[in-house]
């Protein structure tokens, strides 16, 4: 769980790209993914996202996240397959009574939905895994003119996730070492039984927020005009790729208008 939404240090061509280019890439995936609903197009899109992950050398690290996503993908698939309700019936989930029919088009649209969801989420995770947080903030603020406060809030929230999970683990270990165990089926009891983990976590988080605020103030946060030490330059590859991606997006929109990729 700790690897999700964290930067993974590698020296790949993807890592060396400008954050803006990768942001454009993730947005293009989003655009293309939403334009089409043919399962073949969307599976190809998912495959291209996985190829980029492999090129960046982060495919293996993203596998746990991808495995987690497949659970949701399967739920999507099931819901689509069950409630599409048109076309030829392939089989029934409850065989004897002929209930819950799964139709051919329903199944395919389910696959399309699942592939779309995975492609979109994974492209965002790849963006985060291949780009340093400070570079994202830099791009958001310098290139996209997002107010620094908002960019900072966004990145702090992202950074907080892994830290929070590590704290959850430490607290529950500390309580288990004092013979604490969540037992039984009674939901009310179960919620109460989480207090030993939840209370220290809330206290620690408040404490952490307090310390963060202090650290920010001592380092001159909001102390006036900000200047940047580093500047993220757009290289030839960045411009080339950005143009290609823009063309891809325009081309996809044109293809969609011409009636391709629909089901």
């Amino acid at each position: 769980m700790a690897a999700v939404a964290e930067y993974i240090s590698r020296n790949s061509p993807i890592h060396r790209l400008n954050p803006l280019t990768k942001m454009i890439w993730a947005l293009s995936i989003l655009g293309v993914g939403l334009l089409f609903n043919d399962y073949r197009y969307l599976l190809a899109l998912l495959a291209s996202v996985l190829l980029v992950a492999a090129a960046a050398g982060v495919l293996r690290s993203l596998l746990p996240a991808a495995a987690g996503l497949t659970v949701f993908a399967l739920i999507l698939l099931l819901i689509q397959a069950l409630f599409y309700g048109q076309g030829q019936v392939l089989f029934y989930l409850v065989p004897v009574s002929n209930r819950l029919a799964v139709t051919g088009p329903g199944l395919l649209s389910g696959i399309a939905m699942a592939a779309r969801m995975m492609a979109l989420v994974l492209s965002f995770l790849i963006f985060l895994a291949t780009t340093r947080t400070r570079d994202i903030v830099l791009t958001l603020v310098e290139k996209l003119k997002v107010p620094y406060d908002y960019a900072f809030m966004f990145m702090t929230a992202l950074r907080f996730i892994p830290a929070f999970f590590s704290e959850v683990r430490q607290v529950s270990e500390a309580q288990q070492a004092r013979a604490y165990a969540v037992e039984g089926w009674n939901p009310v009891k179960k919620i109460r039984a989480y207090a030993p983990v939840a209370v220290p976590l809330v206290l620690l988080s408040l404490n952490k927020a307090d310390q963060l605020a202090m650290a920010m103030e001592t380092r001159g946060y909001s102390g006036g005009l900000r200047t940047c030490l580093r500047e993220a330059k757009m290289g030839v590859a960045d411009y080339g790729l950005s143009v290609l991606l823009a063309l891809l997006l325009v081309g996809s929109a044109a293809a969609r208008l011409a009636g391709y990729g629909l089901m």
């Binding site: 270990e173 030993p196 220290p200």
Partner: protein, 282 residues
């Protein structure tokens, strides 16, 4: 007579996820009533090893036995009856509104009678010197005092083995000594003690046996004197014997033994030598 091992570790190897092993092929055992210091540089695997003693980590390969029972089949909450664990940061465990209730938490998990809980809580608070604070809100106390609450909550469980992960970090000298004196008393009462520390003078003063870890392997395992008398080994894991041992070593050619552990000890040796006129004191 066969000495029964309290903790027995056999060819223990451990890695997080699918990464590099953090512990490599570790084997040792501890007898009843030992007082062991676990030392080594940051990242050597001290805490990781210690977490195997109460089942928070399970060996990737190899076995850990507590009182002869294989830990793989036991829950952490069951092992908590045998091995107490004092963590580095007390704020990871404190959640009650009074010190006494905090200490009683583990005892309630053990389903002891109300009277027993009250007695043990009072005794544990007495031992760490927090009796007058039993109704205080824990977060109104200092970090050092909260560390002692954590210690008391483990003491109260009266486990045969107690593991302490850097019990003296963030404490001033007086508080450190206070905590280690409690530990010494526990050891004298027959508890097996394993403590992790970076403070070599504490090791010299309180431990009888030292386990030196370096990059997941045991570099040395022996009584304190013999380990500190071999600084070349300690150097590999960026540790240095206490200053007084270093001084004794430097004086070695004047027939001072190299394994002196305390100031008093060296002083007495020197006084004795002066009266005997051995060595070269011309």
């Amino acid at each position: 007579m066969q000495r029964k091992a309290r903790i027995k570790v056999e060819k223990l190897t451990y890695h997080y996820g699918s990464g590099q092993p953090v512990l490599k092929n570790i084997s040792f055992e501890t007898g009843k009533g030992e007082c062991i210091a676990l030392i080594g540089q940051n990242g050597a695997g001290k805490t990781t090893l210690a977490k195997h003693f109460n089942g928070l980590h399970r060996p990737s390969s190899g076995k850990v036995y507590i009182d002869g029972i294989d830990t793989t089949s036991m829950k952490v909450s069951e092992l908590a009856r045998k091995v107490g664990f004092v963590f580095q940061n007390p704020d990871h465990q404190i959640f009650h509104d009074t010190v006494a209730r905090e200490v009683a938490f583990g005892l309630r998990n053990l389903r002891l009678s109300r009277r027993e809980i009250e007695e043990r809580t009072a005794a544990a608070l007495e031992a760490v010197g927090l009796t007058e604070h039993c109704r205080t809100y824990p977060f109104n106390l200092s970090k050092g005092q909260r560390q002692r609450i954590a210690l008391a909550s483990v003491l109260a469980m009266q486990t045969e083995t107690i593991v302490l992960d850097e019990p003296t970090t963030g404490q001033d000298f007086r508080e450190s000594v206070q905590i280690m004196e409690i530990v010494r008393k526990l050891n004298e009462n027959g508890h097996t003690i394993i403590f992790i520390t970076h403070d070599m003078s504490l090791v010299a003063r309180y431990a009888r046996r030292v386990l030196v870890l370096c990059r997941g392997e045991i570099l040395a395992d022996g009584d304190v004197r013999s380990v500190f008398a071999a600084p070349e080994i300690l150097k590999k894991t960026y540790l240095r014997p206490p200053q007084i041992t270093n001084l004794a070593r430097c004086l070695g050619r004047h027939s001072i033994p190299p394994d002196v552990l305390g100031v008093r000890e060296l002083y007495e040796l020197l006084v004795k030598m002066r009266s005997e006129k051995i060595g070269c004191c011309s």
